[in-house]
């Protein structure tokens, strides 16, 4: 499965929760598949999906799911020790690991070569790290939500993209809509 197929499958699981979605194609795909006020779309700032989601989880009680990519986590690798050492059980980091920089033309990442992000997350001190196959994403994500334990999920999947439009919603509108959903 490629990322857009996974997002389509897990959209009903994501819907009741706060979602911070990674820059580029992941946000565009989620926006097209199931636009919700509870989705925060990143329009820039590669690498910070995990940090934004984690800050949000620390600041309030609702479950927060950061959708990240292997390339983005490699950009902000310092995020994993911060998450590990300040664990909050309403936070799930889902790394969709397709071994490539999808939004820029599928150049390979080091996570698709020798670097194992599951091992990296564990070495950084994260307690609940689960690596799963693309077809199992929905089941693993639902179990992580139900467990009410902070969980890092590394989803191994195929690289590949679909053609879709950019998000034209104004960033302040995205943010305002999202904050109202957080408070609701």
């Amino acid at each position: 499965m490629i990322r857009s197929e996974i997002l389509k499958e897990i959209a009903p699981i994501l819907r009741p929760h706060l979602v911070v979605c990674n820059i580029g194609l992941p946000s565009q795909e989620l926006h097209m598949i199931d636009d919700q006020p509870t989705n925060f779309y990143m329009l820039g700032t590669m690498g910070l999906s995990s940090s934004i989601g984690f800050g949000l989880a620390l600041a309030q009680d609702k479950t927060v799911i950061s959708i990240d990519g292997d390339g983005s986590v490699l950009t902000n690798l310092g995020t994993l020790p911060t998450i590990a050492n300040n664990a909050t059980d309403n936070y799930i980091l889902m790394i969709i690991d397709n071994g490539s920089y999808g939004s820029t033309g599928d150049q390979p990442t080091y996570a698709g070569k020798k670097t194992n992000l599951t091992d990296v997350a564990r070495a950084c001190g994260c307690d609940n790290v689960i690596e799963c196959r693309d077809v199992d994403t929905g089941k693993v994500l639902q179990e992580a939500i139900d467990s009410k334990k902070m969980t890092i999920i590394v989803v191994k999947c195929d690289s590949g993209n679909i053609k879709l439009p950019v998000i034209t919603m104004d960033p302040v509108v995205i943010r305002d809509r999202f904050m109202k959903a957080v408070q609701a």
């Binding site: 700032t45 989880a57 620390l58 309030q60 911060t82 943010r175």
Partner: protein, 168 residues
């Protein structure tokens, strides 16, 4: 007056309850004070752009954030300031140790100091420079201004403000 306590008192009085820090020798006392306060959740960051991501999330979760860092971090965070904090219009007080100014003993610090104000000006970031401890009287007003206008605001605090480097 204990300047570290005064700064953190102002943060608490302005309901700032989420503070991320990347350390600096000059900021050690403030960071210690932040860590000691029950009203503040203190989360050290590994890098300043990561810290700004945490602050953005905390703000959207209903907390007032602050980042404490060195001026070298301006070089690290230009993209994050432009495409996250400014683009989504979020408030972020940045308490910055202004290394490389008068009484600085480390020559390399001057290399970023000479760019600091120019970069902040280029980014249209309101910037205040504390050179003597009396300047900190404005800190309370600066915090109110930051959360009024929803912008990143820089407070540069130089070595003279912190009382130099001991024997320097």
């Amino acid at each position: 007056m204990n300047i570290d306590k005064k700064i953190v008192d102002d943060l608490v009085a302005n309901d700032v309850s989420f503070v991320t820090t990347v350390p600096c020798k000059q900021l050690a006392g403030v960071i210690e004070e932040v860590e000691a306060r029950d009203e503040i959740f203190h989360i050290p960051s590994n890098k300043e752009d990561e810290g700004m991501g945490l602050c953005a999330g905390a703000f959207m979760g209903g907390k007032r954030p602050c980042i404490i860092m060195q001026n070298t971090a301006i070089g690290v965070t230009i993209n994050t300031l432009a495409t996250l904090i400014q683009y989504y219009r979020m408030p972020l007080p940045m308490l910055i140790s202004y290394r490389g100014e008068l009484r600085e003993p480390v020559a390399c610090q001057v290399e970023m100091a000479v760019h600091t104000k120019a970069l902040l000006a280029q980014m249209n970031i309101p910037t205040y420079h504390f050179h003597t401890q009396k300047d900190a009287e404005e800190f309370d007003m600066i915090l109110k201004y930051t959360f009024m206008c929803n912008k990143p605001v820089a407070i540069l605090t130089d070595a003279n403000f912190w009382g130099g480097y001991g024997d320097q």
